[in-house]
Symmetry: C3
């Protein structure tokens, strides 16, 4: 779809430096843009590519605009503006109302006439598919699943019994929502299954990545609050609550009964122990272990970047003999008649 720069400037509140009649019809990277391309600059890492770009127009902020060799759409948040324009130039598919002849809708399930149920999907008894929602191919909704309006299950999503998904929730292929939590009671050296009787409540505007798993609560519900975004291959244990507008990168694991606050950002492969509370506005960098609750907003880290292997082995060896070094220092302090310096500021 071709759109004029003038129309984009007006719709998205940008200052246009260029010809309002000029047309763009697709997005491109700065490096590979052409005469009908719209590109953007948001990450300063890509600034060097700006000089040589052949885009028709670049979306960027006022600080970068003077260095732009092409037409420009200038705004305060170029990444967000780019996102909106991209959605205009490349509109998302919309549901085609109806149930595919190979889809199964159980007696007593209710599919809104504006919703689409794709091939080989199955919908259990008592389930509800809301207005304009899309149940993609090979999806399975068990009994009593509730999808609000404008939900999009891309393909091959499993939603277990009684799970509720709010408006505009998007779920990617392979995700499993509402599997049993990992609840077993130890008894004479074996494990006895604890029935997992709660559900999962996913609020509006949540997005859930491919092959992510969200367990149902043991007694009450696991809850993903409004606008939270979960990347791929994430594990969310039973009874967890993830706060509104928090974003979790791929491969994160959140153990059972932990609460994550609002607007948190959790880096990839972070592991969070169970029964913890993480405050609002906490940022955790990748591969960290969270073994205690976090009560203050801020940035937290817990991983050591890799080194060339022979350097790393020496570092690990020193770490493992750190007790010896402490003892040596203590002995010298005793010999020298100094105290061990507990009172010193060492940070």
């Amino acid at each position: 779809m071709a759109v004029s720069l003038g129309e984009l400037a007006v719709r998205f509140g940008c200052e246009l430096r260029g010809d309002p009649q000029a047309l763009v019809d697709h997005v491109a990277t700065l490096a590979n843009a052409g005469a009908r391309s719209l590109a953007f600059l948001a990450n300063p890492r890509y600034r060097p590519q700006l000089t040589a770009t052949r885009a028709a127009v670049v979306v960027l902020d006022p600080q970068s605009a003077d260095g732009c060799p092409t037409q420009a759409l200038v705004c305060e948040n170029p990444y967000a503006t780019y996102a909106r324009i991209a959605a205009v130039l490349h509109p998302a598919p919309v549901p085609v109302p109806g149930v595919h002849p190979t889809a199964l809708v159980a007696h007593g399930a209710r599919v809104d006439p504006t919703a689409q149920v794709a091939a080989l999907a199955s919908i259990g008894a008592g389930s509800v598919v809301g207005a304009r929602s899309y149940v993609g191919p090979h999806c399975h909704l068990d009994e009593g699943v509730i999808l609000a309006e404008d939900v999009r299950l891309v393909a091959r999503v499993t939603v277990c019994r009684g799970v509720q998904l709010g408006a505009r929730v998007v779920v990617h292929p392979g995700a499993v929502i509402g599997s049993d939590g990992f609840g077993f009671a130890s008894e004479r050296g074996t494990w006895l299954k604890v029935p997992q009787l709660g559900g999962v409540r996913v609020e509006a505007d949540v997005e859930i990545g491919a092959n992510t798993t969200i367990d149902r609560g043991a007694i009450e519900d696991t809850v993903i609050e409004t606008g939270a975004k979960l990347d791929n291959l994430i594990q969310v244990g039973h009874n967890v609550r993830i706060g509104a507008h928090s974003a979790l990168a791929a491969c994160v694991g959140v153990s059972g009964s932990t609460t994550i606050g609002k607007r948190c950002m959790i880096g990839g492969m972070v592991g969070i122990a169970g029964h913890l509370a993480i405050a609002d506005d906490v940022v955790i960098t990748g591969l960290s272990l969270v073994s205690h609750s976090i009560t203050q907003p801020g940035v937290y880290s817990g991983a050591i970047p890799l080194e060339e292997a022979h350097t790393w082995r020496r570092l690990v060896a020193r770490f493992k003999r750190s007790g010896r070094l402490e003892s040596r220092v203590k002995r010298m302090e005793r010999a020298a008649g100094v105290k061990s310096g507990l009172e010193e500021n060492h940070d």
Copy 2:
């Protein structure tokens, strides 16, 4: 289903402090229980909620019973007793014998007349589905798969050719059992696939979580022994053996040809290298790296909890310059004429 406290006390060997005629009909948390609720107290973390609970009855141990403001079912293992009572109040679904008209059962497959095969499931030639087993919607059993009795494949489970699942095995959605192991021979800078010819043998009473993957053996079988419990998103490499009644938390990775003993407990995101042997009764806390065999039972750890980011950066910087600190200490020792203290106890 409503049950009297008297009946529960008798069936599960509890001391009842309260009215044997009183009825409960569902389980609830201590915090949200009501007049017909049964709650439990097993984790001391939740003790403060006991005082204010409005449950009809609480399952707890003798030490906690005196502080209980309501009726009580007193027993030595309240979590296990709770699990058994919850299964009475909220019975699990039982298979409805028969094959759904949209399911495919290949010629030469055998489905016990008491088993259920749900919608859009497919069962390959030579496979056997045992008595009272349940093959959920969208499951795929390849050729020669053997399910013993009372197996439950919840939904969308993939069981590859020749895999055997023992009695009462439960598998959650998205799990893949019997995928090819990661076997490639290096040859002139490229990789040559090594045929993966073994199978997977899952013994009785094993539970396998959502989106967990278990690779078939290269030549012989990968084995999951009786009663082992695997959480979600776990990777089990080829030729691995996981011992009876071991429990693996989510996101664990077990590399090929490693053996884990019986009654082990492996925390979330633990990574275990290949060709190792881990003894019985080993507990490993979350996010640890296991790069050597473990020969003694005990508790093992290997992760450093996160810190506020600016503190963490200083810690990492010091770690990386630890060689310099050792050198400085050594120089002072030389200057002071002391030995480096290898003989000291530094632990």
Copy 3:
């Protein structure tokens, strides 16, 4: 299938020490081999089993051949030779041309007459399935997917719109190729979805493990180059490029816009941050964090092996008070009038 040792020696360029007429009909481990078994020795770890093996013949290298108590096929690369022989003795299934009656092929999709589409698979409009390719049961190809020749999608694979898979690509169950990347623009405390408009290009001879997820590019394509091998439960973010013949072990996470060079080997659970470049011929051991680009080939590590828990706790405590130790050493140096030794070689 029974094959003579003479034929194997000729076909695979081995020196035969034994009877050319002797037959083998299956592979086995050294430990469990019998009179018609072919075994191999490649990993020195298994050398002790050679002495007692009852195999008909062992494939091994010249250095080990003298210690072999049985007939031997001697060659320089016994693991690769074993792989080729195993593929002869246990041939992989070949596609049976045709479309299963329960499979769905959209109007405008093109399935080569030599290809097989298995039960309950679905193929979207504009997709192409090349010669001798196999689309396994429950697979879903969205619109515009291109499979070259001899592709094998084992079962339940999801290939999203427009994804291209090269010749001889193998994909295991549960993998998702072409899911949306994790792209959201921050705007007034909430997240705005950035349309993910690129595709995924998987080149020839790539293998992709069970439940692995590969995101489509944001604007251009995510690329997996020729011969790369990805194990199970791996996450590949948008715009990533994985170089030819690189091998990634299970549970690795590669964040968006990172490039991995050719012939790299990435250990299990390694986490790689976004927007990095990793050189060719880099080896990274398991559980490492890669937070900066790597410009030189070599071996890199970043994880500390676990310890008995009480030892580990002391190590962590010392790590966290390392600043105090530095201060104590500095104080002693000042007292002794020595410099802090920056010039010393401490590695």
